[in-house]
Symmetry: none
């Protein structure tokens, strides 16, 4: 058995804790979730959580950081900077859709904790950085005359808000969206923001 296989075969406790906490934070919120509940669902002792995380706050920040990074990776890796705007929009949207379909809870988690008082400075900065990345993309596209003029913040609020709305609706009825509907949604939003 290779070390790699071992790792996958014995999923380490840290991962189990992160997964359990993510689920519970989405279901019940941060303050509505007790640490021993997390331990129970993760199948570890309550004390064990404190071997891996300094505190409940550190735990939620770890989750936030990890998911945000993963999302950033998926959404922005090899961003087709030179492709036409229509192409860029479709790519972004579909990558986000892919991530959110595969990890609906992670997506909702990020939404819920966007502006939580217990997010640490590092996460606030991370959030800020990603916002800037997206803003740059929007501004460039506006400059090229491909998107409607107007406050970039407004355009982004609309697109991201709509995207979140669709995901939340999926989570509510516990049913993923069909591929065709994702495409329809993408089409709709493109028609919304294009010049």
């Amino acid at each position: 058995m290779s070390p790699n296989e071992a790792k996958r075969a014995v999923p380490d406790k840290r991962e189990a804790i992160l997964d359990a906490a993510l689920e519970l934070f989405v279901e019940r919120g941060f303050y509505g979730t007790a640490v021993p509940e997390i331990a129970d669902r993760a199948g570890v002792g309550a004390g064990t959580i404190y071997r891996y995380f300094d505190s409940k706050e550190a735990l939620v920040n770890s989750i936030y950081r990890a998911q945000k990074m993963r999302f950033g990776q998926v959404a922005l890796a090899d961003f087709p900077a030179t492709a036409p705007t229509r192409e860029q929009f479709r790519t972004m949207w579909m990558r986000m859709a892919k991530f959110a379909t595969a990890n609906p809870q992670a997506f909702v988690f990020m939404e819920l904790h966007h502006h939580a008082r217990y997010l640490d400075a590092e996460n606030v900065a991370l959030e800020q950085r990603m916002l800037e990345l997206f803003t740059n993309v929007v501004v460039s596209a506006q400059t090229r005359g491909d998107l409607k003029q107007g406050p970039p913040r407004l355009l982004m609020s609309i697109v991201m808000g709509a995207f979140v709305g669709v995901i939340r609706s999926c989570v509510e009825i516990a049913q993923p969206l069909e591929k065709a509907d994702w495409k329809l949604a993408e089409q709709i939003l493109w028609e919304a923001v294009r010049a």
Copy 2:
């Protein structure tokens, strides 16, 4: 002094509690807000809250019910059922914008508590009823061929999600949107969903 003035002159403690609680629930969440904090901000004793509400849950449900009704009044009163869809859309959007601009916190509050586990049956039913009202409007417009085909739920998620996105963005930067930007947003969303 008229009775009406008298009423305004004696600031109602019940109202003060509702206002303070609404603010805090938005800032910190339900479980993140301590009852004495609410009392402090409302300028009343902690025990006083229990003269007006049976429990913290009853309080949050009272707020939800009151705001949802107010929103329903504003958005749906004298709905122009016979007007053209374009006109209907604009009316709805601008009414919602007016409500949300005047009560941004109330709007965020409703979003946050949409699916909270502590919402009582009455509020769940109320929520359901309002969803149906909106759905009917959408389906009618689709039938007339004025809106894009596709799951009504999807269209609504997009429009409402976008609207919420815009409001949240305003709350984040603590600055209301200009009237012109509201019109722009309306235009954008209309282009998104129109046939």
Copy 3:
């Protein structure tokens, strides 16, 4: 209408409070009874209780004092000091039975609060005085050779304990004892303690 009649016709609030409190203290105990509950049952405002009594403790002490005095009056007034012991015993027993039958709750109340921590010094002294009166009667009877020898305290515990046992049994089944049974009980206890 004479002043006396007026008093009986409009039973004053003080009396109503005392009655309500007596009942509730018996039903639920001192700490188990809330002052507003007393006010409700007495048909007065909560604040009114504090016009007549300094505090909840003062109220319970007032009740104790009043009932104990009434009981002392009934039991010891015109005590037949020169009658034969058998006669004295019967007289005492039947007077106590009469009092307890007419006021079962008052009797249970006194039992329950006999040694409560919140009894004030005056009531402790009153209790002490009445105990001495009874002890004197017992010691005299022992001296005359009419009662069994042994610690007077023991004899009194037995007789009073048995009496209380009978009363509590009546209260439990919410049914007063028949006259014949009272006589039987008296006969039994006399046979218990007579020389």
Copy 4:
């Protein structure tokens, strides 16, 4: 070190809580005793009580059940069903005396909570069962013509009431009764109820 010794060496916290609570409930009553007081006297943290008992009510019911069972064991184990009534009476009385002398507080506790509103259904049933056992013994003895005729409930009230009176008197002066006095009391009560 044997397992048994180990058990005694590690003083059980559950036991400490039960003991402390029993004492305090006798001293101050159920509602007059604060949970942290119990914790203090037991030498544990306040939260610890809730690892062993669901609530303050569950705690008081646990104590009641345990003591009642212990008392039942002591009083009724190997009951000399075929012995003469005089012998049965002496046996019962002395067993009860032994129990009550060894555990005066436990005895008073049971008396105080006999009819408390917070006794659970199981304890009410237990109480009922034990009452029936005693009633059967009395009725049998009456049938044999060894006890006075009359309501069995009355005879039992008298004997148990007298017994409780004696115990309470001991607790009041914080001094156990001499063996001779127990015998005297037994003699007195026997003469009270015998045919």
